[in-house]
């Protein structure tokens, strides 16, 4: 894959470049400020971009804003946002356009390199990848938390992994269950919650996230 890395701290930018290169991917460009990031995103249209939220010149959410702006120009441009902290607020803003190709992770998620690169590939393919911390918060404090009481422990586990953006197959692998068993959980879960199932993995994830985010 052709990858863009936008990160203002040299140490991290360098480490990230070496990590993805160790996995055989190609870094086509790096950026270290908000405007540079927006410029590079639109010029290179990389297969996937890793963008830090906080960047100069203002040291505020420059990276996030560059990502959102780039996706307004080029809908569905795959971007994975990395940050020192994850917030529901930012997750919602990223998912708002419903186009997929979005990831939002804590920086330490790179420690599990295989899973990180896996998520990166998922985002590049137009999928969604959310940090477990975001999903856990969404399940416990989100607007839909009371409606989730009907679910069994296992169904909640499956729902969480699905919201992170995993396919049935990947969820099965994570929980040591067969894909068809996961399919059964999904059907019963969607029945209870009243979510319409969808053929496409990605649209299903977006439906789940929309459900979790919707009040009432």
């Amino acid at each position: 894959m052709r990858i863009l890395i936008a990160e203002d701290l040299y140490l991290l930018r360098d480490g990230m470049v070496r990590l993805v290169e160790a996995f055989g991917h190609q870094v086509v460009a790096t950026a270290s400020t908000g405007p540079e990031t927006l410029d590079a995103l639109l010029r290179w249209r990389p297969d996937v971009s890793i963008v830090d939220v906080r960047m100069p010149p203002s040291q505020s959410d420059e990276g996030l804003r560059a990502a959102l702006a780039a996706r307004r120009e080029a809908p569905g441009l795959p971007i994975l946002i990395l940050s020192q902290h994850v917030d529901q607020l930012y997750a919602r803003e990223l998912l708002a356009d419903g186009a997929g190709g979005i990831g939002y992770f804590l920086k330490e998620s790179v420690f599990d390199a295989d899973q990180f690169v896996d998520a990166l590939e998922r985002v590049a393919a137009g999928g969604t990848a959310m940090d477990p911390a975001v999903i856990a918060k969404l399940l416990s404090t989100g607007p839909s938390r009371n409606r989730l009481d009907e679910l069994t422990e296992r169904e909640r586990e499956v729902l969480a992994l699905m919201a992170e953006g995993l396919s049935n197959q990947a969820i099965g692998k994570r929980l040591f269950l067969s894909e068809s068993a996961i399919g059964k959980y999904t059907t019963s879960m969607f029945g209870k919650l009243g979510i319409t199932d969808s053929e496409s993995d990605n649209r299903r994830v977006l439906a789940v996230l929309a459900y979790l985010n919707s009040p009432g």
Partner: protein, 412 residues
């Protein structure tokens, strides 16, 4: 001969002062007395309406200036400075609607708003009424001050027309009272013109409000600095450590040499993130300060500063932690300035407990020219000390040396 000369001199000076007091204090009351006499002897009070109104206006208009003159004279004669304590005009701002807001009401034009504000402040300010109340007091002071002149006039009349005996009596009164007649004025002025308790408290409230705002701003800035340091420093280093380890794990099979190099880097990274956290902790609250108190913390600071720093200090009891911290960071800032801005080679720090006031002086041999202006580092330090009613004085002529003196009351 000499006592006589000094008596004459004192009498002359006293007469001049008494003359000034009488000339200031008497005119307006004389007008009022004239009106009263007119009504008493000629009757028909209504005929006096116009003079009464005019005199009232004159009284109102002159009272503030009269009080200012009395304050000035007293300050000149006795050195006692009595603050006026009048309210200051507040800024008039233009609202988005185009009207001008002066703190009380809206007006169409800037000028109208300012005039309206001036009148309202005049009316609401307790100092205005205190000044007005002082008019009869000034008359009293004026009457006392007029005694020598009355004696002199009596003497002239006595010698010329009535009898020499009256003349002699008048002369004795005039000469005897001349050096003393003005002396009633300063105590009267101080007693009746000093700011009331309520005004002093209002001033103190303003001061404390400003200090609280300063503290809040300083605190928020400090918290932002710490968050920033952690975010860009220790947190980032730990992430990079994890990154290196993850990459090394991946490379272990394919390129063991590169993996080993990454591990070495990771170890160095762990060490430097520890250093960074240690520095950050020291910037929040130096461990030596907690463990050993101000004097030893300043000694430790002196050792870490790239200057020859001599520290002389009294044995101090442990002070309140916030005061210790403020003074410690004050010294740190002054020493940093000495290195960075003044390019000094040597510095002296002295820490003395003067009664209940902690006095810390920092002196360097640098090139001076420190700017204590608003917004600068020294101004920030002054504000941080002001929170504890402390003060900072800096003398830093161009070419040096710079002397800074921090004084903080510490109630021990």
């Amino acid at each position: 001969m000499r006592p006589v000369v000094s008596w004459v001199r004192e009498a002359c000076a006293g007469s001049a002062r008494a003359g000034a007091v009488a000339a200031l204090g008497l005119p307006v009351p004389i007008l009022w007395a004239g009106i009263a006499a007119g009504i008493w002897f000629l009757g028909n009070p209504w005929a006096w309406t116009a003079p009464i109104v005019l005199t009232l206006v004159a009284t109102l208009l002159t009272s503030r200036g009269l009080c200012a003159m009395f304050r000035k004279l007293v300050a000149q004669w006795t050195g006692t400075v009595i603050p006026g304590g009048h309210w200051e005009a507040r800024p008039v701002t233009r609202m988005s609607t185009g009207y001008w807001w002066n703190g009380y009401s809206y007006s169409r034009s800037n000028k109208e708003a300012a005039e309206d504000q001036r009148l309202r402040i005049l009316w609401h300010d307790p100092a205005t009424w205190r000044d007005l109340r002082f008019v009869p007091i000034a008359a009293l002071a004026g009457l006392v001050a007029a005694v020598p002149f009355a004696g002199f006039v009596t003497a002239v009349v006595g010698f010329g027309v009535v009898s020499p005996l009256l003349g002699v009596a008048g002369l004795v009164v005039a000469v005897g009272s001349a050096p003393y007649a003005w002396r009633a004025t300063p105590p009267l002025t101080v007693r009746f013109l000093r700011p009331s308790r309520a005004m002093l408290l209002a001033g103190r409230v303003d001061e404390l409000t400003a200090q609280r705002a300063d503290t809040t701003v300083a605190q928020a800035a400090e918290i932002r600095r710490i968050e920033r340091d952690l975010h860009d420093g220790a947190q980032a280093r730990l992430v990079s450590l994890g990154l290196a380890l993850a990459t090394a794990e991946k490379l272990m099979e394919t390129n063991p040499e590169a993996a080993k190099a990454l591990m070495r880097e990771a170890r160095a990274g762990a060490a430097s993130s520890l250093t960074e956290i240690r520095d950050l902790v020291r910037g929040i609250n130096p461990p030596v300060l907690t463990e050993r108190g101000l004097v030893d913390a300043v000694r430790a600071l002196a050792l870490d500063t790239p200057l020859d720093v001599t520290v002389s200090a009294d044995a101090l009891p442990r002070l309140d932690a916030p005061i210790e911290s403020a003074v410690y960071f004050g010294v740190a800032e002054l020493l940093t300035n000495a290195v960075k801005h003044a390019r000094a080679h040597e510095a002296r720090v002295s820490i003395v407990l003067d009664g209940a006031v902690l006095v810390v002086e920092v002196e360097d041999d640098g090139r001076g020219g420190a700017d204590p202006g608003p917004g600068g580092g020294l101004d920030g330090l002054r504000r941080r000390l002001a929170v504890f009613d402390g003060s900072l004085e800096v003398t830093s002529p161009e070419g040096g040396p710079t002397r800074a003196r921090m004084a903080v009351p510490c109630g021990s």
